[in-house]
Amino acid sequence: MSVKHRYLPNTDADRRKMLEALGLRSVQELFADVPERVRFKGTMDLPPALSELELVRHVGELAARNATVDGYVCFLGAGAYDHFIPSVVRHITGRAEFYTAYTPYQPEVSQAVLQSIYEYQTLICELTGMEVANASMYDGATAAAEAAIISSYALPGRRKVVFSSALHPEYRETLRTYARGPKLHLLEVPAEGGVTPVDRLREAVDDSTACVIAQQPNFFGCIEDMAALGEAAHAVGAHFVACVDPISLGVLKPPGEYGADLTVGEGQGLGVPLGFGGPYLGFFAATGKLTRRMPGRIAGVTVDAEGKRGFVLTLQTREQHIRREKATSNICSNEALCALAATVYLCTMGKQGIREVAEQCLKKAAYAAQQLEAAGFPRTFAAPFFKEFAVRSAVPVERVNAALLEDRIIGGAPLGRWYPELADSLLIAVTEKRTRQEIDRLVARMGELR
């Protein structure tokens, strides 16, 4: 018995006509080459089809059982941030011309996707001070992992990758997974005082080091001495990979100015919703000399048969579909629509807005840290910070967060989850969205617990 469904345009009459044209009586004849012994018999054990109305109600009920950043005041960051997303972003990314397109394999009918990728690449280059950027990676963690792999390929014989424990724990875990194939040797330097100790790092690198990866601001929100870390990497001929928060680049020095060879990072803060962890986008940028080592898609300018400017995917001999077993990355689908969101976000914020949003994060975080300190929650680390900082709590952090949750506040990330020695610390993020009133409420509620 065939199924009638709103997504299936062909009726039984259509199916019959199509079978007739093929000289067949039943569609089953088309599956005759599926051997009997591997054929699935019976009906899959899945819930029955829902009408659209039932589906809307069902997913609405599931969604209603989750806390959201609208219903709660969110001081959680740790790699995903509650930044404001201008309405324009969703309206543009919600245009079906963009979201129902495939990878631009036929450029003559894909100029929107290609031109927006080119604009995205330019925006990322401007923000990071790098010379070339690709069309995006899966996320910050995989972008960092691929930067390590590329460094090892670009510097033959070098397989050591050095970073500190102040690199995002999930990025380090992802690196460990990705390192297995190319047999990278990972060396983790313990952070000291919330930052990467430059001397220790200098001792850890040698002529087998492919790259040093440093995060700015690091996982604890602290500002690293990137110039010194980069010098340590370059002193042994290794690459320096900067992993940066793009919003911070409204005020912080672009990695291109402190000698980064590769710059990667999580682009979620650029107009991409939190979405319970994804999809986000990894950005990936490099110096010009590494252009032909870049993973993923790159859009470039060309001309058409009449000399008119147009855009195409270019330098494709780097990519898996051409190089196959000689490829250094297997990435194919990336996060194009999230990159479009980042493009629209950066165009909307513009030259002034990116600075203002960064300054607001910085100043609001500074205010929150100061108030918390006065309320008896001193900062765990003395190092300067951007929009996120760790505080020590004399009260168990679980109790703090439970009390805050009752007041519809999501407190900071308990650092003990990743750093047992920091079990008394909470990592608190303050974006431009947090108001003074919300910060004061957080401080008051936490202060009451002491």
Binding site: H5, Y7, P9, M18, A21, D33, V34, V38, L46, L50, V56, V59, L62, T68, V69, D70, G79, P86, V88, R95, E97, A101, Y102, T103, Q106, V109, S110, Q111, A112, Y118, E119, T122, D139, A141, T174, T177, G250, P254, G278, P279, G300, T302, K308, R309, V312, R324, A327, S333, N334, C338, T348, M349, Q352, Q360, L362, K363, Y367, F386, I410, I439
Partner: protein, 497 residues
């Protein structure tokens, strides 16, 4: 005259300036609330050496500029919502609107991944059930929803192969890959540290069993297979393939790019595959977004299940929770739990289709492909003359030999008639290849119209080859010079100095 002084292009015609070329100093498109905490100088909060001295040259445009720029651009872009998009192995089916609404619900879109588990039970429940559904569809025991794309799933699966063999004290260094495979297969094998060995296809388009027997040695970790393969053909020897690979201690990887053909018909886990990935952005209707985000969940049989990435979602009868304590896991393949909002859309799709609907999807997809294949075979060479599954290949060799018109030319000519071209020059084993995947969401009328245009182009190739060779003629830009772009790379805009 600068570009800004030229007349703006009309919708759907010509090209659009770059957003940077629309920039005008001082213009803004954003607004933020006034700072409501004490204002302190930036250099009192951060070390001056860490500060930016020159602002990034982001565009200075108004909100109207932004909206018009991207809207005008969108008018020169093909998408599934505009017309037929028969890219082979890409499964460009209709992307249901209600799924977009579901993913945009604040209860999904506005959830931080580190929110305490007790306040994200709805999200975890969805992930838990999605895993169960994919287990049932794939015939596997557990599924990780973490991989972000098909190639990411391949990487995950092959690292699981590696972990499995190492666990048994075996050091296997090679992966077998058919010559018809997607380019990501060999690339994934190599980034997982394997050497690749190509397995030839036989004259029926399947895996050459004799070659497989010969190549399947103790140093081979396994075989990666797409079934139906990129020729659109189901490998009739599936059972024998699995036996050969397993008997030599190898494992079988299922590239799920072509799973749209087999839902409810043949489950990879039942047909001998050990690790399976699905492309939610193909089989399960989530949009491709111009190149992502996708989602590439990976399933495994009971034996391979311990190696899946962390975390998985478990249910203790009362609460859903994220489980990290899986000592044999290969670890994490990205941050957080996968492309969750893509999973939401695919979940909504499975719930709208139900088990019978999904089977109907595969039947209709296969019927549409066979119907179209027979129509195209009247004008183009059909290299494998047997029933196909959800996609098929035809070749432009006749047109090339007789009229000097290449498949690329005919693909470009299709654009003039409002159709996106099929995948071309792939798989590599078929010269002048068109790889066509119509999907189940195209009506018989659309298939007929496409077949008529293809027949017409074949006729044009005979009568007016130069017309076809110079195509496209009606697109916003004419044929683009890809060689020039690669020779003189310009991959970012620079202000004119």
């Amino acid at each position: 005259m600068t570009r800004q002084e030229t007349a703006p292009p009309r919708p759907g015609r010509g090209t659009e300036p770059l957003i940077f070329e629309l920039s005008s100093p001082g213009r803004i498109a954003y607004s933020l609330p006034a700072l409501d905490v004490p204002d302190r100088p930036v250099d009192s909060l951060l070390p001056p050496s860490a500060l930016r001295t020159r602002p990034p040259e982001l565009p200075e445009v108004s909100e109207v500029d932004v909206v018009r720029h991207f809207t005008r651009l969108s008018q020169i872009q093909h998408g599934v919502d505009i017309g037929f998009y028969p890219l082979g192995s890409c499964t460009m089916k209709y992307n249901p609107k209600v799924n977009e609404d579901a993913a945009a619900l604040p209860g999904f879109a506005g959830v931080h991944p580190y929110f305490p588990e007790e306040v994200v039970q709805g999200a975890l429940e969805l992930l838990y059930h999605m895993e169960k559904y994919l287990c049932e569809i794939g015939g596997v025991s557990r599924v990780s929803l973490q991989p972000a794309a098909g190639a990411h799933g391949e990487l995950t699966g092959l690292l699981m192969f590696r972990a499995y063999h190492e666990d048994r004290g075996e050091h296997r260094t090679k992966v077998l890959i058919p010559d018809s495979a997607h380019g990501t297969n060999p690339a994934s094998a190599v980034v997982c540290g394997y050497e690749t060995v190509e397995v030839p296809s036989d004259s029926r388009g399947g895996v050459d069993l004799d070659a497989l027997r010969r190549l399947m040695a103790p140093d081979v970790a396994g075989l990666m297979l797409t079934n139906p393969n990129t020729l659109g053909l189901f490998d009739e020897n599936m059972h024998a393939i699995a036996e050969i690979v397993h008997e030599a201690g190898g494992l079988l990887y299922y590239d799920g790019a072509n799973a749209n053909a087999i839902m409810g018909v043949a489950r990879p886990g039942d047909t001998g595959f050990d690790v399976v990935h699905f492309n939610l952005h193909k089989t399960f209707s989530t949009p491709h977004g111009g190149g992502g985000p996708g989602s590439g969940p990976v399933g495994a049989t009971r034996e391979l299940e311990p190696y899946l990435p962390v975390p998985l979602v478990d249910f203790d009868g009362r609460r859903y929770r994220l489980v990290y304590d899986r000592p044999k896991s290969i670890g994490r393949v990205k941050s957080f739990y996968g492309n969750f909002l893509v999973v939401v859309k695919a979940y909504a799709y499975i719930r709208s289709m139900g088990p019978d609907g999904l089977r109907q999807v595969s039947e209709d997809a296969v019927l549409a492909a066979n119907y179209l294949m027979r129509k195209l075979a009247e004008h183009f060479h059909l290299p494998y003359d047997r029933h196909c599954k959800h996609e098929f290949v035809v070749s432009g060799v006749w047109q090339k030999e007789r009229h000097g018109v290449r498949t690329l030319d005919m693909a470009k000519r299709l654009l003039d008639y409002g159709f996106h071209a099929p995948t071309v020059y792939f798989p590599l084993i078929v010269p002048e290849c068109f790889m066509v995947e119509p999907t189940e969401t195209e009506s018989r009328e659309t298939l007929d119209a496409f077949a008529r245009v293809m027949a017409h182009i074949a006729e044009e190739a005979r009568q007016q080859p130069d017309l076809v060779k110079a195509a496209p003629h009606t697109t916003p830009v004419k044929r683009l010079d890809e060689a020039l772009a690669a020779r003189k790379p310009n991959v970012r805009w620079q202000p004119e100095t």
